[in-house]
């Protein structure tokens, strides 16, 4: 190492740095300003939530001045237009519950079984091939599923279910279920693959078959994650809009007959805004009351899912 030059230049760089110390005050300013700026940015997400809640609350409050709270939540007749408008949300809740229920009947068993297959049975190669397909399924826009439900699934179902009406809750429910399969499958699979390998080995070493290991050890151990995935899936189904709007018509039937047309809360919002409810009318405010109800439903579901996965996290 050439010592002499080193010493000469050593002084050089140090001096340069010293000199710059005064000019790099900008860094100090950034150092104090940026955290605050970023905080402001971060708060925007909070403001969005507050915005949603305030918007919904103020207008919903106005709605309940016109339609009593109890009447709204116990009313079985929804006839929002015309002379004798009646606002009972139960038909919409029934429609929402039915479509979500049907979706869950499709998504939960298929999603869970796929998760078991992917996490316990599939070889690395098969998993690598199948997972992207599930991801594709999850990435298809809902409007496309709506088109598919209306033009393919409904006619198909009607060809072997005689009593099925041209618009019915069954077809969008099923398609919604298919759409949600990837969500259940991948969240459940995550939960299952985080069960340590040693747990599986423990069971296999006792002579259990793969099925017995999956069903009696892995699934119970991953239960909180699996349940959380179900709850999130339900929340997703409740909030889903375009499939039901397109394929389930807009009949406000208060029924639990899945061959009939029913309207969900989301589809109601589309219908009312599509008719461009003029600001100030009861119809207009009903939009917010329904949206508020929808928001609370999904929020509760999401928080429940978070609570479950946090509270019942297995410590292995």
């Amino acid at each position: 190492m050439p010592e002499v030059t080193t010493n000469v230049k050593k002084a050089n760089v140090r001096e340069l740095i010293k000199k710059n110390k005064n000019t790099v005050n900008m860094h100090k300013i950034l150092e104090t300003v940026m955290p605050k700026l970023l905080l402001v940015i971060a708060i925007i997400s909070v403001l969005t939530t507050i915005g949603i809640i305030l918007t919904l609350i103020t207008e919903t409050f106005e709605f309940f001045k016109r339609v009593p709270f109890v009447e709204f939540y116990t009313g079985t007749v929804l006839k929002p237009l015309g002379e004798n408008a009646q606002f009972g949300i139960l038909p919409l809740i029934a429609g929402t519950l039915m479509s979500s229920l049907i979706a869950m009947c499709v998504a939960i068993p298929i999603g869970l079984m796929s998760a078991v297959y992917l996490s316990e049975y599939a070889s690395e190669r098969v998993r690598k091939a199948l997972k992207p397909i599930l991801e594709v399924l999850a990435g298809i826009p809902t409007i496309v599923y709506g088109f598919f439900a209306l033009t393919f699934v409904t006619p198909l179902l009607r060809s072997f279910i005689p009593g099925l009406e041209p618009s019915n809750i069954l077809s969008p429910g099923i398609v919604m279920g298919i759409m949600i399969i990837p969500m259940v499958a991948s969240l459940s699979e995550d939960a299952m693959s985080s069960v340590p390998k040693s747990m599986r080995e423990g069971a296999l070493a006792l002579g259990a078959t793969k099925l017995e290991v999956s069903w009696k050890v892995v699934v119970p151990a991953a239960m909180s994650g699996i349940i959380a995935s179900f709850v999130l899936a339900i929340s997703r189904a409740i909030g889903e809009t375009m499939i039901v709007t397109i394929a389930s018509g807009s009949s406000k039937n208060f029924t639990f007959d899945l061959t009939q047309s029913m309207q969900t809360m989301t589809a109601y919002i589309v219908e009312v805004t599509g008719g461009d409810a003029p600001a100030g009318s009861t119809l207009y405010y009903s939009l917010y009351a329904v949206a508020m109800t929808l928001f609370v439903f999904t929020l509760v579901m999401n928080m429940l899912a978070q609570y479950i996965s946090r509270k019942f996290r297995e410590e292995y």
């Binding site: 971060a42 969005t48 796929s114 826009p141 496309v144 298919i178 375009m242 600001a279």
Partner: protein
């Protein structure tokens, strides 16, 4: 005394193994359901769109006559919408992620914002539509223009960008930060010069996925109100607009009036899916190509 009888164990073994095999098949079939649906869906959509997708379909203006109708307006609308959404979400999303990951560690406030973001991610898109309608379209008086739609969409996909950026930032090993601090760099210098460049591929991947979500969303725009027939091309963020999913929506609904509209809807779906696949491929490419292995 022996409790476990090996003869008994042997006898049961075959049926247990058989059961295992049967259910394995069932599990496999369940996994395949998605694939089957996908194939059917693609087959349907593509076969319905054959003969309808051509250059003039891509470049023409909208029309009530199926043979003349084109989706250039919707494509441009989608592009303009993304021109609004991308910078806003990138700015807000990455900013929030930096704040949460680098500055606000472990405080109550941090966990509050974090919870808030994950809850926001679960709010149905149509509720965002109501927010957009009330605040941007009506209260701010913007009307149903691209800017209003873009702001609404930006808020809708913001949580996706925040969460994926957080993950990308978290994946930057702490030894890189330490190396930078040890050189006398300040925190902000470290973030800008070391953390963000290293996290960039992850951030971009997440942002592209968020944008593809925004491209496919319909519900918030239905609420904001998109005209059923809008022929001119949008030329800026203050213009009215339509987008690919909205066009699919109207044509699907109106197929009851003019049967050919169903084919137009299918053709538009093919275009939309193609765009989404392209975006996903880009995201995967970025992830594989630029992700640093340490």
């Amino acid at each position: 005394m022996k409790y476990i009888d090996s003869a008994q164990v042997q006898k049961k073994m075959s049926s247990r193994l058989l059961f295992n095999q049967i259910l394995k098949t069932l599990f496999f079939l369940s996994t395949i359901v998605g694939l089957v649906v996908l194939v059917v869906l693609f087959y349907r959509v593509i076969s319905q769109s054959i003969g309808w997708i051509d250059l003039s379909f891509l470049t023409n203006k909208l029309s009530t006559m199926p043979e003349r109708a084109g989706i250039m307006g919707a494509i441009l609308g989608t592009v303009w919408l993304m021109i609004v959404v991308a910078p806003i979400t990138l700015f807000l999303g990455v900013g929030t992620a930096i704040y949460l990951e680098e500055y606000a560690k472990k405080s109550k406030f941090q966990s509050f914002i974090q919870t808030n973001i994950s809850n926001l991610a679960g709010v149905p898109s149509i509720v965002f539509g109501i927010l957009g309608l009330t605040i941007f379209v009506r209260a701010a008086g913007l009307g149903n223009i691209i800017l209003a739609g873009g702001l609404t969409m930006a808020l809708l996909v913001l949580p996706i960008v925040v969460v994926s950026s957080q993950e990308a930032i978290r994946a930057v090993p702490s030894f890189l930060r330490e190396a930078s601090y040890a050189m006398g760099a300040t925190k902000w210098q470290t973030i800008i010069k070391v953390v963000l460049p290293a996290a960039l591929p992850g951030i971009l991947t997440g942002t592209i996925l968020a944008l593809s979500r925004a491209i496919g969303e319909t519900a918030p725009l239905v609420v904001i109100g998109i005209p059923a027939l809008l022929i001119p091309f949008p030329g800026g963020i203050f213009d009215k607009f339509t987008v690919l999913p909205m066009q699919i929506y109207y044509w699907t609904v109106d197929a009851a009036l003019v049967a050919e509209y169903a084919n137009l809807a299918a053709a538009t779906i093919v275009v939309l899916l193609f765009v989404l696949f392209a975006m996903n491929s880009i995201a995967i490419f970025i992830r594989n190509k630029f992700q640093q292995r340490y």
